[in-house]
Amino acid sequence: MTVRPLITDAKNTWCPGCGNFSIQHALKDVLAGMEKDGRSLDNVVLVTGIGCHAKIADYLNINSFYAIHGRTLPVATGIKLANPDLTVICCAGDGDCYAEGLDHLIFAAKRNIDLTVIVHNNRVYGLTTGQYTPTSPRGFKGKSTPGGTGEDPFNPVALMLASGATSVARGYTKKIDLLRTLIRDGIDHKGFAFIDVLQICATFFPVAEYYTPRVYELTGNDHTDFEAACINAREWDYSGDAPIALGTFYRKTAPVFGGNLPSRNLNTPEREQAVRDILSKMT
């Protein structure tokens, strides 16, 4: 095992002040920590969607699958089922994972596949230059909604609780210590770990002044108390003026998907014999 540089030579093209830098730093630190703990990064795979967030696949010098818009989770699920020894981390965007690929997010939570999902939730489409996303506040004026959106955002933390996610957390790009902890905890969680990260978009939705005075860290909450988690999740509706809880809302241990699948790999002669056995019964 070699200690590798964790950043590639790829030219970074995020805007100055972009919240993606914080997520990348936090993830990089977590990876470095894993390596220090003796875990080989050869067994880590990063899966991204498409959007500003996804450039992290080019920037981090680890195995990566730079997938297509909205489709991080099925790719990551296939990788994890193919090789359960791999640590699979998804970095997804809010347009990516809450709009285009919402079905996959809900199903990944429902089946409790052992993955960590970090949603870079900047609440705007950046790469397509400023349209509303499923978590933009009501009335958001973007290029596709110049008169303001006529719909409320949905609450991804509540949605994930309802979908059966076994670890649900929220971070903020200006609270990097907490973010590091949440990512590390998510990776250590055996099951589906979801982290919604409130991320600043420096160009299209620079709302640090809105977030910073409202955020607070959940402390002392019983992570196994589902009702309490739901109450905490509903405190802020991603639109109005309310305190914004950060940290872990919920965590429980449950069977992970794939544990019940036959994992016996047959060698070629065994496989051919199995085919012959089946054919011999078909006369």
Partner: protein
């Protein structure tokens, strides 16, 4: 040709498909080569289902409209299939529900006498058929014992009562052949995939591909494979690509509508250079169309699906022997060239049952896998003379594997630099040359009928059997490309040498193979097309051909 045909019909939910399968096994034990066609509407209960089982002393892949036996479980069966009767057709019917000439049995009374559940009614009708056809009682016992795992003895007793009530009216003489395995097209495709190294099959239910999902899910323990049914077809193909990136051989199955959802994933497979095998089993379209009926209208769609340009293999087996061979070959070729490979089937082939002569399945050429030589740093998309980059999958020690849907450089890092974009496009497309060269080791085009006839039928896929049979009667040549991409122009030209008139026979409205062949300079003078969801029968194909023959 010595042959016999049996029609069994009743309500959806009566177990007509399994009754047909039992009749097929009885005839197979008598040495007949079998083809079974199963016809059913898209509903769960009610509606009319029927199966036609045809046995012959030679390999067949089609059935006619006239039958020697009708096994009628309800009155509708008699009404609908009046035209299937010949003067000497033997009718065995359930007299509780059917009024007919022929031999009636009361299934209700037989079941009551044996205190047997309603589901065993089929055993009574099969027992009646066995006696009417003069099939020895021991043969029936053997078939029931092998294929009815639960309540075997009770089923046999039910069959015996019917067997004893009837008399032999139309004896079916045994043939000299040995019984062969009876496989549906989908079963042959699945077993072929496994022979080709399948590790994971991912699929969302859609007729007529679903029976492959069910078959592999049922046998996954024995075969040591993983079978997953996810939320939709988009997830299906992306999960399969995840398996591929982690070094496992994967395949998916669907029909046209599901494949529409897979096209973005297909294009990703092309760009990211990930192998995946796709069973695309066609049904009548467009859109929902006729879910449980057949069609061949998706050839050009599959050929062109997905944005951008990338190599793909398309094979369309027309026999179960070909399906065993080509499904394994498709797994190997997809893996060797790191490309998507299609097995293009249709309802007729996927759900039809065929006697399968394993001795006629050739050995499958093994491809070369380009393994990483551990030279550092690993570059997932290293440019090579063949265009095939050495493969390391996620989890390989010492390799940082970067798979990318964006235009990328050799290391897999996103790029927008024109020269690199062009270089990598050339690298991907260069695989076409190696693919075409590799295909010359395979039997890409099948020729049957009168091999030197000046009139040739050009067909593909499931019409293999009907074309071969009718061509035999009319003295025509049949030329059938099994490989459709890369287009086997040279072997096709060779196969068509001396054929002054080429007639396309296809189950679509626009003669898609004729269009494709025309792009390669092969001109079809005539077109015989059927697109009502039903497969050609020998009778209607012969009649239609006589209209256009020179």
């Amino acid at each position: 040709m010595k042959e016999v045909s049996v029609l069994v019909g009743g309500k959806a939910g009566d177990g007509i498909n399994s009754a047909g399968a039992m009749v097929a096994r009885l005839l197979s034990r008598l040495g007949y080569r079998i083809y079974l066609y199963f016809d059913y509407p898209s509903l769960i209960r009610g509606g009319h289902n029927f199966a036609i089982v045809r046995g012959a002393d030679t390999a067949i892949g089609t059935c006619g409209t006239k039958v020697d036996f009708i096994l009628a479980l309800d009155q509708e069966c008699m009404e609908r299939h009046r035209n299937a009767q010949k003067p000497d057709t033997a009718v065995i019917f359930n007299r509780d529900l059917v009024k007919s000439g022929g031999q009636g049995i009361s299934i209700r009374e037989i079941l009551a006498a044996e205190e047997a559940p309603g589901i065993m009614g089929n055993s009574a009708i099969i027992g009646g058929f066995a006696r009417a056809a003069g099939i020895e009682w021991e043969t029936l016992v053997k078939v029931f014992s092998s294929h009815i795992p639960k309540g075997t003895d009770q089923n046999i007793r039910v069959a015996r009562r019917a067997y004893d009530m009837l008399s032999t009216v139309r004896p079916v003489e045994p043939c000299p052949g040995q019984p062969l395995p009876l496989l549906t097209g989908n079963e042959a495709i699945g077993l072929g995939m496994v022979s080709g190294g399948l590790d994971a099959y991912v699929s969302y239910p859609m007729t007529p591909s679903s029976s492959l999902l069910h078959f592999l899910a049922g046998e996954q323990e024995k075969l040591g494979i993983t079978v997953i049914h996810p939320e939709n077809e988009i997830a299906v193909i992306l999960m399969a690509l995840g398996f591929a990136a982690a070094g496992k051989r994967s395949a998916v199955g669907t029909s046209g509508g599901g494949f529409c959802l897979m096209t973005e994933g297909l294009s990703l497979a092309g760009m990211a250079e990930l192998p995946v095998v796709i069973l695309m089993s066609q049904r009548t379209g467009p859109s929902t169309g006729l879910p449980t009926y057949t069609g061949q209208a998706d050839l050009l769609f599959v050929l062109h699906a997905g944005q951008g340009e990338f190599p793909r293999l398309i094979v369309a087996p027309g026999t179960t022997e070909e399906a065993l061979y080509w499904s394994a070959a498709a797994m190997n070729i997809a893996g060797e060239f790191q490309i998507p490979a299609f097995i293009l089937s249709d309802k007729t082939f996927s759900e039809g049952t065929y006697s399968t002569d394993l001795s006629a399945v050739p050995l499958i050429p093994q491809g070369n896998s380009a393994a990483w030589d551990r030279s550092s740093p690993y570059r997932r998309y290293a440019d090579t003379p063949s265009g095939i980059s050495p493969i390391a999958s996620f989890g390989t020690g010492g390799a940082v594997v970067k798979v990318n849907s964006y235009a990328h450089d050799e290391a897999g890092i996103t790029t927008e630099e024109g020269p690199i974009v062009e270089l990598m496009a050339k690298k991907r497309l260069r695989k076409n040359e190696g693919l075409a060269a590799a295909m010359s080791r395979y039997p890409q085009v099948d020729i049957s009928g009168a091999r030197t006839a000046t009139v040739a039928l050009l067909c593909w896929g499931s019409t293999a059997g009907v074309c071969r049979e009718v061509a035999g009667r009319l003295g025509l040549r049949v030329v059938r490309p099994v490989v459709l991409s890369p287009f086997p122009k040279d072997p096709l030209m060779t196969a068509l040498e001396g054929a002054g008139t080429i007639i396309a026979v296809e189950e679509n409205a626009t003669a898609q193979l004729a269009v494709l062949a025309g792009q390669h300079g092969i001109v079809c003078a005539g077109r015989v097309l059927r697109y009502d969801g039903r497969p050609f029968t020998p009778e209607d194909l012969e009649m239609r051909l006589r209209e256009v023959l020179p």
